[in-house]
């Protein structure tokens, strides 16, 4: 088992690529930078496949996750040990293949998309660094190492959002992403501390083994595990852009489009879902926390979808769509269907990466404009992109036999069966599915049909080069077939994906298989009808000649994203800025800290100003000082002799 025993190779290769490109790439030709970047991720992908193959053999033999300790990182008192330990189990396998596979495709795409950009080597250095941290995140066998990856991907996200750092909006968006994530990370760290205090370890195996033996908290009871889960989930809301910390993700679209596809759709933002799924043992012991996860997920899925309905920026639509789909994943986790959540994570990685890359190709075609009201009629001119985008759209809308049909269906089915309030979650989730279908087909109609709304004299629409279209086609294929693992389940067979993950999440509950199967069929039909109704409304509204109307009422509210950014600005950012400026800066910094420093200096100079008069230059006055000094020393030395007791003793 050469690779499995040397798992560190998989993350190390992108790190090397990043270091080489970052340190040397500025002088190199693009071909050389490409070969380093693509080579490192490509070999890493191949290694990942080999590692998975070896792991499946290992699992046949040992029936447990593969964990290997490579070196000690922190060894503290009480045998607390945090090591560079990597782990492979079925959940890791899914994440590993998605990250390296989709990551590799997006690297290829980027060589075309970024070809004319400044800082080409820098882009690939960051992108490779991101791959390194993401792989650390999914391979880590304890929370501490996971947190290293978690923070690392946050850093790379910051660097890549702010890639065009000369543009203020991009620099601000990067800062916003970083700071909002800090809030979540604060919770995540507190959660880790609490887990460590409870279990005296942060290794997944130890923590989960101990947690499994504990009495689960009752509904509404906030025991240690529930609090820890809620804190971990707080980290997840930051990283995975859930209410209330989702605000950074739409702004993150300031980054280059491949970054949006890789980091802000396919991989990094799903890290929160991964953490919740990874900690499923804890979450199943904390029903209240599960409930919070489900409600937040469901609410995010719905609200983000409503905002997506009216956005005019093609990437913003996809960004809100991502937030919404992440909400679905959390909904799945919250109702206990972790397998379905991870399933949706995987299919979402395929179709959302596809959609973003296609959007990038569209933007590339029209010369950098992202406003859908300045597109239109592109279907005939960029056929490959059009078909790929259409595949992605059908996939995300949930039409069979595309990927999201299966994964979204599994989630809604799980929500429907969840007690006590599953029906409500189901209805909201279904509504969100209608909205999803609507805004995606609206995007298609605005972008690819109708008349051209751009200036045809100036913009020369052209299809993207091969290194961009080939990854699109591969992803389109995956978006079509990615859900077929669950295909037999539709005909009363097995859901291979759920079965594959069952060693991690436990066997899927087969409660009343027969009735469940017929129920699932009904729900599937309902879901398809929902998607079709969204399509129909979009067709009715946008297939005719459309004008950008005046924005009023509800439309205005949605277009301005419920004024959440403004509300945060007023309630949190504004007061914080006021506090920082008027108290922390003007009083604490300028007053107290600078005052102390300057005061010491002024004091010294003031004392000097007084004392300098002793330096009269008059020789005889120095003599007086000498005499006074001599008398003082004389007094100190002989004082005890004049002390009353001594005198008394003499007497």
């Amino acid at each position: 088992m050469p690779i499995l025993e040397n798992l560190w190779i998989i993350p190390l290769l992108p790190l090397l690529g990043s270091a080489i490109n970052g340190l040397l790439g500025s002088k190199w030709s693009k071909t050389l930078v490409n070969s380093v970047a693509l080579g490192s991720t490509g070999i890493s992908f191949i290694c990942a496949i080999e590692a998975v193959r070896e792991f499946l053999g290992y699992y046949e033999e040992h029936h447990q996750a593969f964990v290997k300790q490579f070196f000690d990182w922190i060894v503290a008192y009480n045998d607390a040990r945090f090591g560079f330990d990597l782990q492979v189990d079925q959940l890791t396998v899914v994440m590993l293949l998605v990250v390296t596979g989709v990551g590799f495709l997006i690297h290829i795409y980027s060589t075309g998309y970024m070809a004319h950009e400044e800082g080409y080597y820098r882009f690939f250095s960051y992108l490779n660094l991101f791959m390194f941290f993401m792989l650390i995140l999914v391979l880590a066998a304890n929370y501490v190492l996971l947190f290293v990856g978690w923070e690392g991907v946050g850093l790379c996200s910051y660097l890549l959002i702010g890639f065009y750092f000369l543009r203020k909006s991009a620099a601000d968006a990067g800062k916003k992403a970083f700071i909002v994530n800090r809030i979540g990370d604060f919770g995540f760290m507190l959660g880790m501390f609490l887990l460590f205090r409870t279990f005296h370890s942060l290794d997944f195996n130890t923590v989960f083994a101990q947690a499994a033996t504990m009495q689960p908290d009752a509904m509404g009871q906030f025991g240690t595990i529930t609090i820890a889960c809620l804190l971990l989930f707080m980290g997840a809301t930051g990283k995975s852009a859930q209410i209330p910390l989702y605000v950074w993700l739409p702004d993150a679209m300031e980054g280059p489009t491949p970054v949006s596809a890789l980091i802000h759709a396919a991989t990094m933002v799903t890290a929160g879902v991964y953490v919740v799924a990874r900690s499923h043992v804890l979450f199943t012991h904390a029903p209240s926390a599960m409930y919070v996860v489900a409600i937040i997920g469901c609410a995010t899925a719905f609200f983000a979808a409503t905002i997506g309905l009216v956005q005019s920026d093609i990437k913003k639509v996809l960004a809100y769509s991502t937030v919404s789909q992440l909400g679905y994943m959390f909904l799945a986790c919250g109702v206990g269907a972790f397998g379905a959540g991870i399933f949706h994570l995987m299919t979402h990685a395929f179709f959302k990466a596809l959609l973003f890359l296609s959007a990038g190709s569209v933007i590339h075609a029209v010369g950098g404009n992202q406003d859908m009201w300045a597109m239109g009629g592109l279907a005939k001119k960029i056929k490959i992109t059009y078909w790929c985008m259409l595949f992605g759209t059908i996939a995300i809308a949930g039409f069979p036999p595309f990927a999201a049909f299966f994964s979204k269906d599994a989630i809604l089915f799980a929500a429907f069966n969840h007690e006590p309030a599953g029906k409500v979650l189901y209805v909201v989730g279904l509504l969100a599915a209608v909205l999803t279908s609507f805004y995606m087909f609206r995007l298609i109609w605005l972008t690819f049909y109708g008349e051209a709304r751009y200036d045809e004299q100036k913009v020369h629409v052209h299809e993207s080069p091969f290194n961009m279209t080939v990854p699109l086609m591969i992803l389109a294929f995956l978006a079509l077939t990615g859900g077929w693992f669950a295909l037999p389940a539709l005909f009363g067979g097995k859901d291979y994906f759920a079965e594959f993950l069952s060693p991690v999440f436990g066997a899927a509950t087969e409660a009343g298989a027969e009735s469940a199967a017929s129920l699932e069929h009904i729900l599937s039909v309902v879901a398809v009808v929902a998607a079709a109704s969204g399509l129909a409304v979009a067709w009715r509204m946008y297939s005719k000649k459309v004008e950008r109307g005046e924005s009023t009422g509800l439309h205005k509210l949605l277009y301005n994203k419920y004024y959440v950014d403004e509300a945060y600005q007023a309630v949190i950012v504004g007061p914080l800025m006021w506090l920082s400026r008027n108290i922390l800066w003007k009083v604490v910094d300028a007053g107290i800290i600078d005052g102390t420093v300057n005061g010491v200096a002024h004091g010294a100079s003031g004392i000097g100003d007084v004392v300098r008069h002793t330096q009269s230059g008059n020789t005889r006055s120095y003599a007086v000082w000498v005499i006074v000094g001599a008398l003082v020393i004389f007094g100190i030395v002989f004082w005890p002799l004049f002390h009353p007791t001594v005198i008394g003793g003499v007497r």
Partner: protein, 100 residues
């Protein structure tokens, strides 16, 4: 025999006179002489102790002090002569170039 304390009192009186003269006189020669007076007051104390204790240490010290005083006289008089030439005065109040 004269008691040691008499010598010490005399020594203290001489030393005190030296200090007073050193501080209050302005003539640089007088100041120089008052320094010599203080040195010799100390010498007297050394010799007195030496005799009282019956040891030669004090006398050896006195020899050292005399040597140092001679060297000091050589250097000091040199400085005084140069100051007097440059300033046309022996008043120490006017030697105050170090003053701010």
């Amino acid at each position: 025999m004269v008691p040691t304390s008499y010598y010490l009192v005399l020594s203290a009186i001489l030393f005190g006179l030296g200090i007073v003269a050193f501080v209050f006189k302005r003539n640089i020669i007088t100041i120089f002489m008052s320094i010599e007076l203080m040195l010799n007051a100390v010498n007297l104390a050394f010799v007195a102790f030496s005799r009282a204790l019956g040891k030669p240490d004090g006398e050896v010290f006195v020899l050292f002090v005399i040597v140092v005083a001679a060297a000091e006289a050589a250097v000091g008089l040199g400085i005084i002569i140069l100051t007097a030439r440059n300033r046309k005065s022996l008043n120490v109040e006017r030697v105050d170039l170090l003053k701010l």
